[in-house]
Amino acid sequence: MTETHSSLNFDTGWQYAPAPESTEHIQIDKQYKLFINGEFSAPQQGKYFTTSNPATEEKLSRIAQAGKSDVNRAVRAARNAYEQTWSKMPSKERAKYIFRIARAIQERAREFSVIETLDGGKPIRESRDIDIPLAAAHFFYYAGWADKLKYAFPGAQVKPLGVAGQIIPWNFPLLMAAWKIAPALACGNTVVIKPAETTSLSALKLAELFQDIDLPPGVVNIVTGDSSTGAALVEHPDVDKIAFTGSTSVGKQIMHSIAGSHKKYSLELGGKAANIVFADAPIDQAVEGIVNAIFFNQGHVCCAGSRLLVQESVAEELCFKLRERMQTLILGDPLDKNTDIGAINSKVQLDKIQSYINIGIDEGGQIYQSSAKLPNKGYWCPPTIFTGMAQSNRLVQEEIFGPVLAIQSFRTASEAIDKANNTAYGLSGGVWTDKGSKIFKVTSALRAGVIWANTFNKFDPASPFGGYKESGMGREGGIQGLSTYLSMELSNDA
């Protein structure tokens, strides 16, 4: 690239007209109760909290706040269902229920997509093309495992654990519910799941779906609420397994609080993934990959490529192209089918992201933000990048969980690997180069659970997901996703 850098015009002339997804067919009740033992049941203390649309700050519904006694009821229902129904049911029959769930989600995909976008602020394109189809695919994948578990563990016999307590985050509400519920049920466990406080609606819609498909009562129970509800579930003595997706600090608290108990646990936590672009990379696809790595779902992604390591000889060209690409990202109404960047999930999260942007500026980074106009209402953050970052900067070290990218340069592969691994996290990473042998060298050297070569942020139910080091333990997805929901016994037969 030479010095000329003539820039493109995206501002004048033909623009896309609004193309909002219709909400006419969506039924959201004024108030939602807890889903326990196959029925909607009021919280015993009668408390509810408001859930709202982060793009408009409009109130959507009221959600029950489950207290300890409600969690008790839910666990009891799950235990009964486990003992009386689910663990006794032939695995082939169990499988068919899970297949039914997959199919029912597909049938109601549009409805789920709109609700996910209304409640969480993510672009409808993503909920429609990624979240919901993947959620259905996850159930479909694990349904098939239910009657084949013995083939997954050669030389061993496996048994379900019992009642699984599951806590999921707000960034992919239905998808995370699917990641948790599908393998748990396939392995023969019953479930008590707690959605994130700001995004309970799709889980409650899922509860309606469970009723529709006649899932036996108590097999999945949904307790909505804040962190106290989660804590009650984690600490409940009759829960056999805790599956958590969320922040590393809460993951540590959970591991600490269930210490000494019999509870098995799997944790899917934070990350600070490095996306490494070599000079010989397919550069236009790398730009796209970087955009997908950090701006997908407003950067509310634990495996987001929030660090960009770019080889010095192409750094200027790459950053130029990235800035230009950022200008074409459409920010706005999440329900608009053309929206690329939706709303930040909550005021709290927006404040956190903003504070990190200020830190980046204070630390001397050069900020660039897309010039997208922010709506007046709701919580918004334009796509943001910082160049001139170093390992010592907080933007390079700490998970922001927003559309903020820290860019550093490097000279050699070993330097890139050292920088990429120089973190307490180890969830994911990206490598961009056209050279096959280099891909294997670098992907092997990265200490992270999911590595994308010449791509980023790809998910599939058959592909295990989870981190090294402080990014968690255990895997979700694939054959590896089974073992955290089973106990294994070996026999002494030689």
Binding site: I451, D460, P464, E470, M473, G478
Partner: protein
């Protein structure tokens, strides 16, 4: 006096010479340092009629720290060694152990085992090394997979070592497996490319340090296995809390110890593997799943295009 083989005993008494007794030191980074703390405890023979005595190092927190540094510094290169080579090195351990079986039988007896049990334990220990030597280039094939994803990507999952594995000892009271219990925990960790720091039980230090000599005499690179003697009670918290340890293997039965270990391990989200129910002499005490326990799954996506 060491009850080695009868022949040795006889030759010693016949010549009425003064026996040269061994100084039991620590094994860190392939060397045998004394504890930096200068502390020791006296070990006396548990077998009837033996007057054997030894001063055993009481490892300090600094010794442990040094051991972790040693383990960390060679972990990458050990993991990079070919699976076949790691297998041969483990097999080499078995060869040398077989060669020194009498020494280990003697030390097991000093640690309180019956002759019968000692023989059986040494046999089982050698066999266990051979067992894991054979897994070196196979466990990856058992646990790896190509994942049929829906997009145009070649997607595969493989195992990689977690890194540094700290191993707290089985209690001495549990079926007297000073040697077998140690080998059963070290072998699956290192065959998978981890390096380790092993703390031996206070009552079973002889076989541990002698096994360190076997390690040194084999082709195991210095630092891959580090062996400490000392107090489990004193070091347990350090093992569990050290932030550069990736996995912790322990065999604690008590609820209190389990709780404490996991609480401390949560600080850096160490993988905690409890093997308190293991009966080391049985076949179920060896399996590729024990290798898998100190492994991470790495999944890689690669486009299939032109």
């Amino acid at each position: 006096m060491t009850p080695k083989s009868k022949a040795q005993d006889k030759s010693n008494t016949n010549k009425a010479r003064t026996r040269v007794s061994k100084t039991y030191k620590l094994f860190i980074a392939g060397k045998f340092p004394r504890t930096e703390s200068g502390r020791y405890y006296a070990f006396t023979a548990q077998s009837a009629g033996s007057s054997f005595k030894a001063n055993i190092c009481t490892s300090s927190r600094k010794d442990f720290r040094n051991a972790v540094v040693a383990a960390r510094s060679v972990q990458k290169s050990w993991a990079a060694a070919s699976a076949c080579l790691r297998g041969q090195i483990l097999y080499r351990l078995a060869e040398i152990l077989e060669d020194r079986r009498d020494q280990f039988i003697g030390e097991l007896i000093l640690q309180g085992a019956s002759i019968k049990h000692a023989n059986k334990e040494v046999d089982a220990s050698i066999d266990r090394l051979v067992y894991y030597a054979g897994w070196s280039d196979k466990y990856q094939q058992i646990f790896s997979n190509v994942n049929p994803v829906s997009s145009s990507h070649f997607n595969f999952s493989i195992l990689e070592p977690t890194g540094v594995v700290a191993i707290l000892p089985p209690a001495a009271e549990e079926n007297q497996c000073g040697l077998l219990g140690m080998i059963s925990n070290i072998a699956p960790a290192i065959v998978g490319g981890n390096t380790c720091v092993f703390l031996t039980n206070e009552k079973q230090p002889l076989t541990a340090i002698s096994f360190a000599e076997v390690i040194q005499a084999s082709d195991v690179p210095g630092g891959v296995v580090n062996i400490l003697t000392g107090s489990n009670v004193e070091l347990m918290a350090l093992f569990a809390s050290h932030k550069d340890v990736n996995s912790l293997v322990h065999m604690e039965k008590s609820l209190e110890d389990n709780k404490k270990i996991q609480e401390l391990a949560s600080e850096n989200l160490k993988r905690v593997i409890c093997r308190s129910e293991m009966r080391w002499h049985e076949n179920i005490a060896e399996s590729p799943y024990m290798i898998e326990e100190t492994q991470e799954v790495k999944t890689t996506w690669h486009p299939i295009g032109n």
